[in-house]
């Protein structure tokens, strides 16, 4: 099942941990807020993506299934 990383912008507080944990999937804008790739998460990065989701201090990230 293809998956995509999504950020809830109302929950995100700009801690920036996601960009440290998953630099392949997340970069930070000039204010420290994540720019999440809209591409599907490659199979090899599945664990990395899940780690970013579970470790987000604001619980703002989600890994969603894409049909």
């Amino acid at each position: 099942m293809a998956k995509q990383l999504r950020v809830d912008p109302t929950a995100c507080a700009g801690h920036g941990l996601c960009a440290e944990l998953a630099p392949e999937l997340v970069t930070l804008d000039e204010w420290g807020y994540p720019i999440v790739t809209d591409r599907l998460v490659p199979r090899g990065l599945d664990r990395t993506a899940r780690r970013a989701v579970t470790d987000c201090p604001a619980l703002a990230l989600a890994l969603t299934r894409v049909a």
């Binding site: 809830d8 912008p9 929950a11 807020y33």
Partner: protein, 447 residues
């Protein structure tokens, strides 16, 4: 394309502030079919006059029949998004538990006055529509969510009492006040407010009806959409389609800001030439279509376009909630845009980092461009920030704000050139576009 002009005479619009008086001046009287606004002046219609004019509310049968009729009518939401009304009704009819129905008259857009004018003049059409939507959705409870305005609330409370005394409604109607904020009418903000929380937009991963804190879904329909629904239930889809275009049928309410500074609310068929709305009285340099999330068009361009999304979308604009503002010659379009950009930045709910950080910076950059000999970096900064806020909010506020500002940079490009040389074509420094006198600045004002 219809070749008829306005369906009814333009009404002098009510003022924007709470407690402001609703003007009831004379109207020119074009004749033609009467739909939402009765011809002959802005006199409020009480229940007796309403029933005499439109007849009793007939029920077309079950929800399926009504949804099919609304689908055939082609009615779209008149709150700005132009979403097909039948699809929301169908979603509501299929929702468990049954949704609460909310008539949305928040009208947070400072340039729009059509919803309050409709509620003032024809409240019973809106209340009829609320009852029909409740019937389709299987709801026993409805809410009329209306901007702060004591006179209007008193008038609506009277209208609701009139109906209660007549025993004509199956669903309850609760009148609720919307905070005076630009985003107070955003669909998820309405749901939040009805939950008892501040009227802030929410993030939704899944589409569909927004939900209250209790989990009950909310069917949010703009009050004008509900009024059209009341007429479609009475007269049918074929009748509705006798105005407007084949793709965008029906009439719509517009708020016109004329170059002489007058503000009028009118009911016009969709597809009406924009040139006919503005008239040819005084010289116009640009037209803002769709409000402060809409787009500027040059006067020459706007004069060739009808008020219809099929023609406006390729030009980067939409009908939105029906605001058409004709900027007269002698005003600086960049200065007008800078004032509104600052307002839009202050109206960010502050929940999403890119919007909270980006819009104020963008507004400052527009302010530079509106001044003499702007900082040469302002333009590039603005473009970069615009790219960073687009598509990164929970609601459409960053996207709509950027659309408005980008359109100004296109349409007022020659003016920007003058400003680089330290000049400005503006001869009249008085603000043209309407903004609230004191934008609320603290969080308590969201509820």
């Amino acid at each position: 394309m219809t070749d008829s002009l306005t369906l009814s005479a333009p009404y002098p619009a009510s003022g924007p502030a709470a407690g402001d008086h609703f003007a009831t001046g004379s109207s020119a009287g074009h004749g033609g079919p009467q739909r939402l606004l009765p011809a002959g002046g802005a006199v409020p219609v009480d229940l007796r006059a309403h029933l005499a004019r439109y007849g009793a509310l007939r029920h077309l049968g079950g929800p399926k029949r009504l949804i099919a009729e609304v689908q055939a009518s082609g009615l779209t939401g008149r709150g700005g998004a132009a979403f097909p009304a039948y699809r929301k009704l169908a979603a509501a009819a299929g929702s468990r538990p049954a949704p609460i129905v909310a008539g949305n008259g928040a009208e947070g857009e400072p340039a729009s006055r059509k919803d309050r004018s409709l509620l003032w003049i024809s409240p019973h059409l809106v209340l009829d529509g609320l009852q029909i939507a409740a019937q389709v959705a299987g709801s026993r409870d409805t809410v009329l969510y209306v901007q702060r305005n004591p006179r209007l609330h008193l008038r609506l409370a009277q209208a609701i009492s009139e109906r209660a005394a007549a025993g004509m409604d199956a669903a309850t109607i609760e009148l609720r006040e919307a905070p005076d904020r630009f985003l107070a009418g955003e669909e998820s903000a309405v749901a939040s407010r009805l939950t008892g929380r501040p009227a802030l937009p929410g993030y939704r991963l899944v589409r569909g009806l927004p939900r209250l804190g209790s989990g009950q879904p909310v069917l949010v329909q703009n009050v004008e959409t509900l009024a059209h629904l009341a007429l479609i239930a009475r007269y049918g889809a074929a009748w509705f389609r006798t105005a407007g275009t084949a793709d965008e049928p029906g009439s719509t309410l517009v708020t016109l800001h004329l170059p002489d500074g007058q503000v009028r609310v009118a009911e016009v068929p969709l597809g009406v030439p924009i040139a006919d709305l503005i008239g040819s009285g005084s010289p116009v340099q640009a037209v803002l279509v769709g409000g402060y999330h809409g787009a500027w068009l040059s006067a020459a361009h706007a004069a060739r376009l009808p008020l219809a999304n099929s023609a406006l979308r390729p030009a980067g604009a939409t009908v939105g909630a029906g605001v058409v503002a004709a900027l007269p010659a002698g005003r600086c379009g960049l200065a007008e845009t800078a004032r509104v950009a600052r307002y839009l930045a202050l109206e960010s709910a502050g929940q999403c980092g890119p919007c909270f950080n980006g819009l104020p910076r963008i507004a400052v950059a527009v302010g530079h461009l509106a001044g003499p000999r702007p900082d040469p970096r302002a333009r590039a900064d603005l473009e970069r920030w615009a790219g960073l806020v687009e598509g990164r909010g929970a609601c459409h506020h960053p996207d709509g704000s950027v659309r408005f500002i980008r359109s100004a940079l296109r349409v007022f490009a020659a003016e920007a050139g003058l400003h680089e040389q330290g000049r400005c074509s503006g001869t009249n420094p008085e603000p043209f576009l309407h903004l609230p006198a004191d934008p609320p600045l603290d969080d308590s004002d969201w509820s």
